[in-house]
């Protein structure tokens, strides 16, 4: 469904992505792991066309979305994104955050959009908070709202960028449970995360990004348990036993 070939992204003189190849099939969850600065976030931003690629090709459902003639807004509508810092709109209620996209870009009436938003909020367990403003919510609730907002366009693909990294440990579970449920319901997901246990559980495919390339990839059982790349071995050691390596 999504293919990436030879993706390169430079920021000035600095090459962040140096040739990424990636395939994501319908209903799959692909997890990106790697240290900070390895290019996980940049890759996700490129997939959603928030960054202009320096080179390479990305296709979504067979369409080359890196073609400059493509309507980028229409492509983004087919891809949902959830950010590490939630990025909810603080001047809108939870309901309006979720109903915004279906109403102004999806062509739904206000009432239809709010009905869909309520269904999504119900699904993420926040129907009771619909009229509240984001600053009244806990981090976990805000991130679940952000997930509902990303689902409001009924996207083909969901991109999750370290969505639990800003949360208190006791709030991480509620967000991961929701992602697990989305995966079970057939959503195609590409996520960057440091939650290795979750990756092992849910991922169909794990990619280790290092210095702008996919240094190792495969099913989680192979990549996470019998890694061959020495940099990946070191990375996993640091993640799984912080303070000892």
């Amino acid at each position: 469904m999504l293919t990436v070939r030879g993706l390169r992204k430079d920021f000035g003189e600095h090459a962040v992505l140096r040739g990424i190849d990636l395939d994501v099939n319908e209903g799959e969850a692909v997890v990106l792991i790697g240290g900070s600065g390895s290019g996980k976030s940049t890759l996700l931003r490129c997939l959603n066309l928030l960054e202009q690629v320096t080179d390479g090709v990305i296709t979504l459902d067979g369409e080359d979305i890196t073609d400059p003639r493509v309507d980028a807004d229409a492509v983004r509508r087919r891809i949902g994104v959830v950010f590490q810092a939630y990025n909810l709109f603080p001047h809108m209620s939870v309901l309006h955050n979720v109903a915004l996209a279906p109403r102004v870009v999806g062509g739904l009436s206000k009432q239809q959009a709010e009905e869909r938003a309520m269904q999504l909020l119900d699904r993420v367990g926040l129907a009771a908070k619909a009229r509240d403003y984001p600053d009244r919510l806990s981090g976990g609730q805000q991130q679940r709202t952000a997930i509902a907002r990303a689902l409001a366009n009924e996207p083909r693909l969901l991109l999750l960028d370290e969505v639990t990294s800003a949360l208190d440990p006791e709030l991480v579970g509620e967000v991961l449970d929701l992602i697990r449920e989305l995966k079970t319901s057939g959503m195609t997901i590409v996520m960057a995360t440091h939650e290795m246990g979750f990756a092992r559980d849910v991922a169909d495919h794990v990619c280790f990004l290092d210095a702008g390339v996919v240094a190792e990839s495969g099913p989680p059982s192979t990549v996470l348990e019998t890694p061959t790349n020495p940099r990946l071995q070191q990375f996993l050691q640091r993640i799984l036993a912080p303070g000892t390596a």
């Binding site: 931003r45 959603n48 928030l50 807004d73 229409a74 983004r76 509508r77 891809i79 949902g80 994104v81 950010f83 810092a85 990025n87 909810l88 709109f89 603080p90 001047h91 915004l100 996209a101 102004v104 870009v105 907002r149 990303a150 409001a152 366009n153």
Partner: protein
């Protein structure tokens, strides 16, 4: 031992230390208030005595503060002032619209839109740079001399237009600061939902920008309230022009004092509204901290 549930409604008693601290703060608060009140009275008394005992005071009293004459010209000046208020309302609405447009033009991105950005920048540089008094004279006396039949010739319209041109340049910069204060991640979130650049600006960025700059915005409008008096330069019979006409015939400047008091009376409520918005913004950011 019984376990107290964490939801216990009753607040615990305050300790003696805290009670003493509260008492101390109360006493100190009273002392500060007393000192402030006393020093204010002393300074004000000194000022009033200084003015009244100055050698020129009897003359000043007669030409600037003639209560009887002032009362007789008050209705005429108030009528002129009503014109100032109407100009103010029309100008404020137009300024908001033009300024928003200019600010939006200055913040568009992309190389293709360079002419738009450049045009907006020139507009701001020019109308912010020209002294308002010169701008009013240039437009008020210059435009009618162009003899273009569809351009307005009314000095009232041209004076108001000058205010709009000058102030929209200032207010556009306030709006631009607000637009740039909205974190880029808000734009990223809006664009990722498929919103176009203009919808992102209108629905996500501008509402947050306006909230952020409301105090400086109101401050600019308090400034506009008094600059409305400058349309008198073109002969528009507003409060200032009315005062000039009256004092020219009576050789008494009390009409100017009346006009000044009317402008101050208008500025006070606007100033308090601006204060309230500023305090509210401040309170939100401080979130309960003491300093």
């Amino acid at each position: 031992m019984t376990v107290i549930p964490p939801t216990s409604a009753a607040l615990p008693e305050l300790s003696d230390v805290e009670l003493w601290r509260r008492d101390f703060r109360r006493r100190q608060g009273r002392r500060s208030a007393l000192i402030a009140a006393l020093s204010s009275v002393v300074v004000l008394t000194a000022l009033v005595l200084g003015v009244i005992n100055s050698p020129g005071w009897p003359q000043v009293h007669k030409t600037f503060f003639d209560v009887h004459y002032g009362w007789s010209v008050f209705p005429a000046i108030l009528r002129g002032f009503w014109l100032n208020v109407r100009i103010l309302v029309v100008a404020e609405i137009l300024i908001l619209l033009v300024a928003l447009l200019i600010a939006a033009m200055r913040t568009v991105s992309g190389p293709a839109l360079f002419p738009i950005r450049a045009l907006a920048t020139i507009y701001v540089d020019f109308f912010r740079g020209v002294p308002l008094i010169v701008l009013i004279l240039l437009i008020g006396f210059g435009v009618p001399n162009l003899h273009v039949h569809w351009l307005p010739k009314s000095t009232l319209v041209l004076g108001t237009a000058s205010l709009v041109l000058a102030y929209s340049a200032y207010v556009a910069e306030v709006f631009r600061a607000g637009i740039e204060s909205v974190h880029p991640s808000q734009r990223a979130a809006a664009r990722s939902l498929g919103l176009s650049q203009s919808k992102t600006l209108r629905i996500v960025v501008l509402p947050q920008a306006v909230r952020a700059v409301l105090p400086p915005l109101l401050n600019d409008f308090v400034g506009l309230q008094k600059d409305v008096g400058l349309v008198s330069l073109l002969g528009v019979v507003d409060a200032v022009q009315q005062a000039t006409i009256l004092s020219d015939s009576s050789f008494n400047f009390t009409p100017y004092t009346i006009a000044a008091l009317l402008f101050v009376a208008l500025a006070i409520p606007s100033g308090r509204v601006a204060d309230r918005f500023a305090a509210r913004a401040n309170r939100r950011q401080r979130a309960g901290a003491v300093v």
